[in-house]
């Protein structure tokens, strides 16, 4: 009753447009790939995704030849067998015959692929199987092929794969997480790391079946690796990483489709490029690990150091009862110059730590207080270096200059307690309170 209502409601929406089918297929494939991709990259086996997505080809061709149809179950079986064989051979070559692990992977998957290519050539006649499609995909033709359950066959296949991956992740979440993070502990707890490895490889093989159906191996490789890597830059928890990777995969599908229609070019190629661009954006602006964010942090840190330097210098000038006032430009030059130094002086002025007087800059009351703390840190540290570490007098200014910005009140208190004196620093100057 209820289902019928839903179907009726859906029917009133009408047949989805060609574009909708394509985007839906793209999203499904990308999400399915992203789910297993997260574990691939955390286990540092991304290239196994590349390898398996090619190595399943002979399995598929044999399944086609034996059954004479595109039906799903034999194809999955063929893919799983080919995938397991590849995994096993790769491991055997590496473990027992001491071929380096990357080389053994390269040997096995290229040989499997070559066998697949030859098989296709031999039997391609009745199979409608184009090697070109294997690379580039034929998402464009998805809406015009056979239908299963009212949707394009390729979409249906990908949905099944997505569901399978989702269920396995849900059921074996803690086992997959533990064996990726600490295989030794997993094994000692009775979750064999080897069996989890094979399970993951089976999932990757099944997932890559979708590539030979519609989207092309290149999109599958990209979607296994790129969204997961992007998500890894954005999140510090595995759960969020998986969610983000699915969202990024979805975004790549939508953006890629939009761009491909705009420029009238290959859809799966464009989806791949979109994923790459999203990764590049994350590299630049990820809040914690992005290049721009860490550059920003560096600039902030330099500004802090520059501000401290300016305050410290003005304080020392006052201490020496110098008559001369430094101008903005002179001050800036004295702490190293450049636009950062000028900006630091501007910041100090705005925050009311220094003010301009007739012939230059001067500390305000607030500024003097801040500077005092700073100079105290500096001189306490110098005293500590001389008294406790026995460093020579002429070697302590530089290290103290570097460290002074990081000595908070807590460490100041500890330092003061350790040093019995301490009214004067080793150079004989007053240590301010």
């Amino acid at each position: 009753m209820r289902i019928e209502t839903i179907i009726a409601a859906l029917a009133t929406l009408g047949e989805p447009s060609t574009g909708t089918w394509i985007v839906l297929t793209g999203i499904t494939v990308n999400a399915a790939c992203a789910l297993v991709g997260c574990f691939l990259i955390l286990r540092k086996m991304s290239m196994m995704g590349d390898a398996l997505s090619h190595a399943v080809l002979p399995g598929l061709v044999v399944a086609f030849v034996l059954t004479g149809s595109h039906s799903m179950v034999p194809m999955f079986i063929g893919a799983v067998i080919a995938g397991l064989l590849t995994t096993f051979l790769t491991q055997t070559l590496h473990q027992y015959l001491r071929v380096p692990s990357d080389a053994s992977m390269g040997i096995v998957f290229t040989a499997m692929f070559a066998i697949g290519v030859v098989l296709v050539k031999q039997f391609a006649g009745g199979l409608h199987f184009d090697i070109g499609c294997v690379y580039e995909g034929a998402l464009e033709y998805v809406p015009f092929g056979d239908r299963v359950a009212g949707m394009p066959r390729q979409l249906f296949t990908s949905l099944v794969v997505l569901l399978l991956n989702f269920v396995v992740l849900l059921v074996l979440w803690k086992e997959l997480k533990l064996s990726a993070f600490d295989p030794a502990l997993a094994t000692t707890m009775g979750f064999s790391a080897t069996s989890m490895h094979y399970l993951l490889m089976v999932l990757v093989s099944v997932t890559s079946v979708a590539s030979f159906e519609a989207v092309g191996s290149i999109l599958v490789v990209a979607m296994l690796i790129v969204p997961a890597s992007t998500a890894h830059l954005l999140s510090d928890r595995l759960g969020w990483m998986v969610v983000f990777s699915v969202l990024i995969g979805t975004a790549a599908a939508v953006l890629g489709f939009w761009a491909a229609t705009y420029w009238d070019t290959s859809i799966s190629g464009m989806m791949t490029v979109a994923a790459g661009c999203l990764y590049a954006v994350a590299v630049l602006v990820s809040p914690r690990y992005g290049l721009l964010s860490s550059m920003l942090r560096n600039v902030r840190m330099s500004l802090l150091v520059l501000r401290d330097d300016v305050l410290g210098m003005l304080y020392r000038l006052e201490e020496l009862k110098s008559e001369k006032h430094f101008s903005s430009a002179e001050t800036s030059a004295a702490v190293g110059g450049g636009w950062l130094a000028s900006f630091a002086i501007f910041q100090l002025q705005r925050s009311g730590n220094i003010k301009g007087v007739r012939d230059g800059l001067q500390l305000t009351e607030l500024g003097r207080e801040t500077a005092q703390k700073l100079v105290r840190s500096h001189r306490l540290w110098e005293t500590y270096l001389v008294e406790q570490l026995g460093m020579p007098l002429d070697h302590v200014h530089e290290p103290a200059h570097r460290v002074e910005h990081y000595i908070d009140e807590d460490i100041q208190k500890q330092l003061a307690a350790e040093l019995d004196t301490s009214a004067q620093d080793p150079h004989g100057r007053q240590i301010p309170d």
Binding site: L42, F181, D182, A184, L185, T188, M189, R237, L238
Partner: protein, 255 residues
């Protein structure tokens, strides 16, 4: 006489057929704090890994409370070397500690409220309660080590294996770890620790295993940790033993 918690019988371990531990035969009574001491390459880590079933035994057997390792899994806690961890892994401190409860849960079951509580308590115990939501890269070396200790606590084991827990930690963490180990011993657990610093062996441990490819001695610190035994342990490798091991490796090409 207390129960034997950990027993190794006639154990030989080989990597690629080259024996790295010859005929180890030892017994550790329950409730001891045991230091595993020996020079580099003496097989200290291998002893632990063999005890945990992470490397195959060439011969002999390991028993935990008189039974096979497989049956006694739930009694074992393990703290790996810090270098073996991927610190970029997207897990928080609490996630890591929670992993300690996975073994008890078995396949498929998810950690629930009770497990989270255990994890929180273990974290509090090592003084890391305030850091539960941090990603593990954002901790200092000492803090990272404490997190892994908390995970071992969450395993609620009877017998703990720690691989160099003092490597690269600050003084405060070192004394915190020692305190924790003593607490464990007081509550009747057995703790085996791979240790490098000979100076502190007598302070930290009450039992010691001296190892250099073969067992030199195993027993209470005051009888066993003697100059004579130390000389045997550190007084150079047995060259012929090495040569024989090499001969075995060469002549058995397939493992």
């Amino acid at each position: 006489m207390s129960q034997i918690a950990f027993e190794v019988h006639d154990m030989t371990v080989a990597y690629h057929r080259r024996p790295v531990l010859w005929d180890i035969d030892l017994e550790i009574p329950e409730g001891k704090l045991v230091g595993i001491v020996g020079p580099n390459g003496a097989g200290k880590t291998t002893l632990i890994k063999a005890a945990l079933g992470l490397v195959p035994l060439a011969s002999g057997k390991v028993e935990i409370y008189g039974k096979n390792y497989e049956e006694q899994r739930h009694l074992i806690g393990y703290v790996p070397q810090r270098e073996s961890v991927d610190w970029d892994f997207p897990v928080t401190v609490r996630d890591v500690v929670l992993m300690g409860t996975y073994g008890r849960l078995g396949w498929f079951r998810r950690p629930g409220k009770a497990e989270v509580e255990i994890a929180e308590r273990s974290l509090q115990h090592v003084g890391m309660g305030a850091f539960a939501r941090r990603q593990i890269r954002q901790l200092s070396g000492g803090q990272q080590q404490r997190v892994f200790l908390a995970r071992a606590l969450a395993q609620a084991a009877q017998i703990y294996f720690l691989d160099e827990p003092f490597a690269g930690v600050d003084a405060a963490t070192e004394s915190a770890i020692v305190e924790l180990l003593e607490e464990l011993r007081t509550s009747g657990k057995t703790v085996l620790v791979v240790h490098h610093d000979l100076q502190t062996v007598s302070d930290y441990f009450d039992y010691v295993i001296l190892l250099n490819m073969r067992l030199i001695a195993c027993g209470p610190v005051k009888d066993t940790f003697t100059t004579e035994n130390l000389q045997k342990t550190y007084g150079g490798r047995l060259t012929i033993l090495d040569e024989a091991a090499e001969a075995i490796r060469r002549s058995k090409p397939l493992q």
